[in-house]
């Protein structure tokens, strides 16, 4: 669309509009920063598993969101803000300055129980102007296993404490009674007061900054800008969509299992593009499952939003961004879980499979803007136990990265973080300071990158030995059965592998990537290999020099160079051009490159 057309719709001068867009964004960025710097939960402070935003007074729609918020919260927080607004209306709750609601109910616009949202009415000159909200991943909210990632819960009650929207702060004062209920129901409660205060303080900072913005530009102008920015974001997204050829594109992805029944769960994704609209239909996906791999609708929608944002990263995020995306609600599938289906795996794992299904459909439509599938698992490993030397209980989390998919822009990144995260892994030296473990290895998973003209990035191998006491290990990972999908002739990436060696005897989880409460004792070993990224394009077209370089680095063996890339190397490691040409001709015909 010619930007010229916009001049008619102008309600606010275009320059002030840009200034206010940046100003609203900055309010959110500052909330993000304050929350992460003050938080105690390493999942928030290091893994950045949190998000802050501003939401519409009446509709709860997203106005602006911090740029460094966790991607999976794109969109979900507007659903939880909407749930709070509804609750307020239904029950005739009076809103006062300084109130803060707390909510983590997955079925009320949430994700899993560990994502605890604070929602605060923001008043300007005595009038409700907007909502400020943030969400932070708490290390524990009670339930069957430390950390909340039960791999085989069958009801949400087994997953932890579920909070409907209640006022945790009333007129600025922390409610001691509600606080005591919360702290009596979660593990390692002593540090949570630090996170609660950090989470509330971030909203208070947002309040101050937003007030300053309104003082300067006037509430009316800012309100006009909010409406206009929504329209502009929608227009920008439509312009991106318009570049996709009209048509219907099918994609799919599989979750290894639900953790209870050992069968893969299928996500069917039909993306229909007409004009300036994309419709996502997941009909034909597996029915609701017994284990915790159900997704609530808020998370399902959010996963599609974040996938699209990964494809068009420069579109700003507000409610308008999502307008041109139509999602057919997947009633009757595991992607629309209802009470009391267990859901702990939805935010961390199912969300990433949904995104992968979107990528696998769109890579057919716009290959140059896409990539083969990334590792796409958060690789949650939790080890909870008692340290006899320090006389204390602990819960340790290991979150790991994996390979990204190749794309026409190059090979995939090795050890990239999950699709839904932007987390840094916790340093080994920090883990060993806090927990009675010794890492024996942390290395690149050779061979795990899917072969392709642009190969996938590599996953990681790590080995952890328990030094003393006893502990229970649980894990919710994925891609144990099938690796991340290759694209346009590229191979799939390597699979996720878990092995636990107890008293010298190896044990493999029956569901490969999910298990719970595996008892381990001193000297037992946990070994994990994370997935590699999918390859992009025919591996026989990869430059033989690049294959030789990969072999020199030890990324692939010489045998793999021959078998997977059709490249023969001389004894000194350089390319044997003749043998390569012959081999590639034999395997790939005309498409091969020698």
């Amino acid at each position: 669309m010619d930007p010229q057309d916009l001049r008619g719709s102008r309600v606010i001068d275009p320059i002030t509009l840009v200034v206010l867009q940046n100003g609203l964004q900055q309010v959110c960025n500052e909330m993000d920063l304050a929350f992460v710097r003050a938080a105690f939960s390493p999942v928030i402070s290091e893994a950045l598993d949190r998000s802050d935003g501003i939401y519409h007074r009446d509709t709860g729609e997203l106005i602006a969101q911090g740029e460094l918020g966790l991607p999976v919260f794109v969109g979900t927080m507007q659903f939880s803000t909407q749930a709070v607004i509804e609750r307020v209306k239904e029950q005739g709750i009076t809103l006062e300055e300084g109130d803060v609601f707390i909510v983590n109910d997955p079925y009320l616009g949430g994700t899993h129980l560990m994502d605890v949202k604070f929602v605060k009415p923001f008043f300007y000159r005595g009038r409700l102007f907007a909502w400020l909200a943030n969400t932070g991943h708490w290390p524990d909210t009670g339930g069957a296993v430390p950390g909340g990632f039960s791999a085989n819960a069958t009801e949400v009650e087994q997953e932890g404490l579920r909070l409907p929207p209640v006022k945790l702060y009333k007129r600025g004062a922390l409610d001691a009674e509600i606080l005591s209920i919360i702290l009596s129901n979660i593990r390692i409660a002593d540090q949570r007061i630090g996170d609660i205060k950090a989470q509330a303080a971030a909203l208070a900072i947002g309040e101050r900054r937003l007030t300053a913005l309104l003082d300067r530009y006037g509430a009316e102008t800012v309100e006009q800008a909010i409406g206009e920015l929504k329209a502009r974001a929608s227009q920008q997204m439509r312009a991106k969509i318009a570049e996709i050829p009209d048509g219907t594109y099918e994609g799919e992805a599989y979750v290894d299992s639900d953790g209870v029944v050992d069968e893969p769960l299928r996500i069917a994704m039909r993306v229909d593009k007409q004009g300036e609209t994309l419709t996502f239909d997941m009909a034909g996906s597996s029915p609701p499952c017994r284990g915790p791999m159900n997704s609530v609708i808020a998370t399902t929608k959010s996963s599609i939003y974040l996938a699209v944002k990964h494809v068009f990263p420069d579109v700003p995020i507000n409610a308008g961004t999502f307008e041109p995306l139509r999602i057919v609600e997947p009633e009757g599938t595991f992607l629309y879980a209802k009470y009391p289906r267990p859901v702990s795996g939805c935010a961390a794992e199912v969300s990433q499979r949904i995104a992968e299904a979107v990528f696998s459909a769109l890579v057919k439509a716009i290959p140059d803007k896409l990539f083969a599938a990334p590792a796409g698992t958060s690789g949650n490993l939790s080890v909870g136990g008692y340290d006899p030397a320090r006389k204390r209980s602990y819960v340790m989390y290991v979150i790991s990265g994996g390979g990204y998919g190749g794309s026409t822009r190059g090979d995939g990144l090795s050890n990239g973080c999950s699709t839904i995260g932007i987390s840094k892994t916790t340093p080994i030296e920090v883990m060993e300071q806090f927990y009675p473990v010794l890492f024996e290895e942390y290395s690149l998973a050779e061979g795990s990158g899917g072969a392709g003209e642009f190969r996938g990035g590599f996953g990681v191998n790590y080995k952890i030995r328990l030094r003393r006491g006893e502990a229970r290990a649980s894990m919710v990972m994925d891609h144990g059965r099938i690796g991340p999908q290759g694209a346009h002739g590229g191979e799939d990436g390597g699979v996720n592998r878990v092995r636990i060696v107890r008293a010298g005897v190896p044990y493999q989880p029956p569901h490969l990537s999910k298990d719970q409460g595996i008892g381990i004792a001193a000297d037992d070993l946990i070994e994990v290999t994370t997935p590699g990224g999918g390859g992009f394009g025919n591996p026989l077209r990869r430059s033989p020099q690049e294959v030789a370089r990969d072999v020199a680095h030890g990324y692939y063996t010489r045998n793999e160079a021959e078998a997977r890339f059709g490249v023969s190397l001389k004894p000194d490691g350089s390319v044997d051009a003749e043998a390569t040409m012959a081999r590639r001709r034999r395997n790939g015909g005309d498409t091969a490159r020698a």
């Binding site: 275009p14 500052e30 003050a38 002593d190 932007i422 030296e429 060993e432 942390y442």
Partner: protein
């Protein structure tokens, strides 16, 4: 009387300032930088001053050799000897991805995988040896690395920050084998936990050590061949200098020294004019640097990243860079909204008005169109671009999309650019608990003074300072910088368990180490200052808050109070429930060099009256109208002059725009002080 030379090698120009305090004389030189061997440009600049090298008492050199080597990856071939099982730490890192959205990107480790070798050894988090060091294995690895062509080597073992015994032993073994001094042990560069950050910092050191070593040797050789026999000092990223003879030992400290020396000059100059609290604002062609100075001291950070996944955790001046400079491109996006930067036209093709083939509207073009820059610039380029062509481009690329005239469109470009820069300043001030209104804005760099007054208005900053020579600020920083050594030591213990002896003991050791370094350098200093800081957190947190310490004999109870105050200021949170932890202690040992008088900088060619300093009356666009605006030549402005905007002050290396209604005074040191 001493003659001091400061010479700063920038990306485009090598700037030199010679101050002869005895004669009250100032000599300046500006020559193109010679990227192949920066020493050629340095010698050329010296020759331009006509000064005899034998008469120079001290020469301080700011060099981009190491920063460029890193950014362009023109680095040494580095080998790594590390703990068995962990050779990929430097490749895998704590990887995220380059951008939050978009699942693409790449990363090339500093040490290629073939040159990363493992040996048996292991120390745990308490410092206990779990597996003894395989000494023969270390020797074997070192020999293998030499065979593979490594020029320098890093020894990096897990938990060496708490027990460096294995690294120290390995160092001894490698020293006996390695043919040059380029051996870096991780704990010796920074003694901080986090294996990736410590390992990368050490690897950066090793990667640039041979490069810096060769450069300094060559420079020193050429200087002494020309009769220079006195002090040669090199600028570091912490804003201090170090003797050239020692600089290569900790090469990593020289990364980022160019921008740091600008901040040092700002601190020095502003303090002498009565402004101890300053936000510095250095705008160049592609980016702008912002830093905060409190009580005359630039803020230091040990958590900076040179680029994606490239942490450099040595103490450096905390400089925040944003992608907005004179060459930043203005465009309308698909939402019909005007965006300025971060794409830049750079120096080539550059802004349209440079006449080098640039076709996209930039910030510089907008300034020119609005009369803020001298239009004769259009004529001074090789292939001049006409005003009409420039106007047409602004219309075509910006104005017509927004329904604005070309003047309005150019003004819009500046407003958006200023807004972005103001937001960046808010992030380094407000977001860290400081109110920008308590600071003065110190503007330098080629384009800083063009935007400073408008920016200060935007931020509510009451005073703007433009130094006498805005384009030579980095070189001036070299002249005035003190000698400085920083020490960081991990403690990582809850404060109640920290006895007063421990804190005092560590700080005393750091002071002693610093003084020993100063003694080795044999640089003439007037006195020694020690500045101490503590990194603290509440137990269970992973981020730290740095607290300035008043003295070296600070008690744990005082530490507790200082931390709580700082925490309240930063987050507005009180946490009586949780114990604070002392994460680390930091000391800067500063050898104060003799203060340099800046009065020579002010010397110009003052006219009798301000009116005589006026070169023209130009129509300049301000807030919707073109106003007849006097243009002054800076070196003609008389001492003590006092005038109001609108006005433009031009000098060789910068143009200052004074917005209507703002008052300007010229202070005795030649700085323009604008009351906003």
């Amino acid at each position: 009387m001493p003659r001091i030379v400061g010479v700063d090698v920038g990306g485009t120009f090598t700037d030199l300032i010679l101050i002869d305090e005895g004669a009250g004389e100032l000599r300046l030189a500006k020559v193109p930088t010679t990227p192949e061997n920066q020493a050629d440009g340095v010698l050329e600049a010296l020759a331009q001053t006509g000064a005899a090298l034998a008469d120079v008492s001290t020469m301080v050199h700011g060099t981009t050799t190491t920063t460029n080597a890193m950014l362009e990856r023109k680095i040494a071939r580095v080998g790594l000897i590390t703990t068995r099982g962990f050779r990929d730490v430097l490749e895998l890192g704590r990887r995220t991805r380059p951008q939050p959205y978009g699942l693409i990107g790449s990363f090339t480790p500093l040490v290629t995988r073939e040159l990363r070798l493992e040996v048996d050894e292991r120390v745990d988090a308490e410092g206990a040896v779990v597996r003894p060091l395989d000494e023969a294995g270390v020797a074997q690895a070192a020999r293998r690395l030499l065979e593979l062509g490594a020029e320098s080597v890093v020894i990096h073992f897990l938990h060496s920050y708490i027990n460096p015994a294995h690294e120290l032993r390995a160092l001894e073994i490698v020293r006996r084998i390695w043919p040059n001094p380029h051996i870096t042990a991780g704990h010796a560069v920074i003694s901080e936990y986090r294996e990736y950050e410590r390992g990368v910092t050490a690897a950066v050191n090793a990667a640039i050590q041979p490069v810096l070593h060769r450069y300094i040797e060559r420079l020193q050789g050429e200087l002494s061949a020309r009769g220079f026999a006195n002090e040669l000092l090199v600028m570091q990223g912490n804003g201090g200098t170090v003797a050239a003879g020692l600089v290569a030992e900790a090469s990593v400290n020289t990364v980022g020294s160019g921008p740091a020396s600008g901040v040092i000059a700002a601190a020095y100059t502003a303090a002498r004019s009565g402004f101890p609290n300053v936000v510095t604002y250095d705008m160049g062609g592609t980016s702008s640097d912002v830093a905060l100075i409190r009580a005359g001291l630039p803020q230091i950070s040990t958590e900076l990243e040179l680029e994606y996944a490239m942490p450099i955790h040595v103490p450096m001046i905390d400089i925040h860079t944003i992608g907005a400079g004179g060459g930043s491109i203005a465009r309308i996006n698909e939402a019909g909204m005007l965006q300025v930067g971060p794409e830049s036209a750079g120096a080539t093709p550059g802004p349209i008005c440079y006449g080098r083939g640039g076709a996209q509207v930039t910030i510089t073009d907008a300034n020119l169109l609005l009369g803020r820059l001298n239009p004769t610039r259009l004529l001074s380029v090789t292939t001049p671009v006409s005003f009409d062509a420039l106007r047409a481009a602004v219309d075509q690329q910006v104005g017509r999309h927004l329904g604005l005239s070309s003047d309005e469109a150019a003004a819009a470009v500046l407003r958006i650019a200023n807004d972005r820069m103001a937001n960046a300043i808010r992030m380094v001030s407000l977001a860290r608990g400081h109110d920008p209104r308590d600071f003065a804005l110190f503007a330098f760099g080629g384009a800083g003074p063009l935007h400073a007054v408008a920016l200060a208005r935007e931020l509510g900053i009451p005073k703007v300072m433009i130094p006498a020579r805005p384009g030579l600020t980095n070189a001036l920083g070299c002249v005035v910088a003190d000698v400085r050594h920083d020490f960081v030591r991990t403690v990582n213990r809850p404060l109640p368990e920290v006895g007063p002896v421990l804190v005092e003991g560590i700080l005393a050791q750091q002071i002693a180490d610093g003084k020993a370094m100063l003694a080795r350098e044999r640089v003439s200093v007037e006195g020694i200052d020690c500045v101490h800081r503590a990194d603290m957190q509440f137990q269970g947190q992973s981020h730290i808050l740095t607290v300035d310490l008043p003295r070296a004999d600070v008690t744990p109870a005082e530490l507790h109070r200082l931390f709580e105050d700082a925490y309240w200021q930063r987050f507005g949170v009180e946490l009586k429930e949780i114990r604070p932890v002392l994460v680390g202690l930091h000391t800067a040992v500063i050898g104060r060099r003799r203060p340099v008088s800046l009065s020579a900088l002010a010397a110009g060619d003052p006219r009798a009256t301000l009116a005589d300093a006026r070169t023209e009356l130009r129509e300049v666009w301000f807030d919707g109208v073109r106003l007849p605006t006097p243009v002054y030549r800076r070196d003609w402005i008389p001492q003590g002059a006092d005038f109001s905007g609108p006005a433009i002050v031009e000098q060789l290396d910068a143009t200052t725009v004074i917005e209507p209604g703002n008052r300007v005074a010229v202070d005795p040191l030649g700085n323009l002080v604008v009351t906003v």
